[in-house]
Amino acid sequence: MTKTTQDTDTRIIEHIRRRLDEDVEALDSATLSRLEQSRRLALAAAAQPKRPWWRILWSGGRPTGDWLVPAGAFASVFATALALTLMVAEPENGIAHAVDDLELFTAGEDLELYENLEFYQWLENREQTG
């Protein structure tokens, strides 16, 4: 890279930095208020005591988690049986499909996306009818 190119890059970077810094300093009050609200919500969530997933069922101050170990074991066995069933049902590419299906069942974020597809269809229908 020549010195001229380096100088050009430096000028470009400095100008972009200055422009972006000016942008964030000039944010309107409504936007700043939204950001502060988001921060407060996040900090409120931080103030909540974090309950490990195995202590969800807390009853009357007495933990009832002594059933969770066998329940967890059963869930593991069930998931394995499900994966094996899927593999047996589709011998061709069974492993790939089983992995895909298991990933679909266990990926919470992807499920949320697919669950929202009905909402998108409803949204489309609503917009069409005005």
């Binding site: 930095r17 936007t31 900090l43 933990p63 988690g65 489309e124």
Partner: protein
């Protein structure tokens, strides 16, 4: 000897108290620039605000107990992940619009008619305003990974390792994306007077 579940040391361990003041300082310091980065990624402020809010929540809920020096790369990693999720959802929505609408109706798609956030119109009179609009348009139109690399390295001031962690890629990839971004910016902006 039979142990009840809550008598195991890990079961009895409570979450250590979080430094909410430090969290507040961190989030207050990063929120404005995060919004700007999300705006470049999402193309509009409203979605960008949602992305930033979601990112803050995920950092706090998932990583607030990590050392404070890890929050910044973690937050940016979450932020970039949320932007990627936004693009995936938009792609799905666009496909639904194509499938459910006729070709004629597709012309009325509000997303298609939405102007680019940094479009340069004839109302830009001063050279400075024109230049700023062109600069923002150029940044917005950068390929996503090049945009990420440039903003994280050149504006956020992250080093290569931090940017790689935030982008979820190798350090070599960060350098490549940045180099390509500079090539695009140089080509489009070098002739302008600053």
């Amino acid at each position: 000897m039979r142990f009840r579940a809550w008598e195991f040391p890990c079961y009895a361990m409570e979450t250590p108290a979080l430094d909410t003041q430090a969290l507040d300082r961190f989030l207050a310091g990063v929120e404005r620039r995060a919004l700007r980065i999300a705006e470049f990624g999402a193309g509009n402020r409203e979605d960008a605000l949602d992305i930033v809010q979601d990112s803050m929540l995920r950092l706090v809920q998932g990583y607030a107990d990590r050392p404070e020096q890890e929050w910044r790369p973690l937050f940016h990693r979450i932020l970039q992940s949320r932007i990627a999720d936004f693009h995936r959802r938009e792609a799905v929505r666009r496909r639904w619009r194509i499938w459910l609408r006729s070709d004629d109706d597709a012309r009325d798609d509000p997303l298609e008619n939405q102007p680019a956030p940094a479009s340069v119109g004839p109302e830009r009179r001063s050279d400075a305003e024109h230049m700023s609009a062109r600069l923002e348009q150029t940044l917005t139109q950068l390929p996503r990974r090049q945009q990420q690399a440039f903003l994280l390295r050149m504006w956020e001031g992250m080093n290569v390792a931090e940017a790689a962690e935030a982008m979820g890629c190798s350090e070599g990839s960060v350098k490549t994306h940045l180099s390509r971004a500079m090539g695009v910016l140089r080509k489009r902006l070098e002739d302008h007077r600053w």
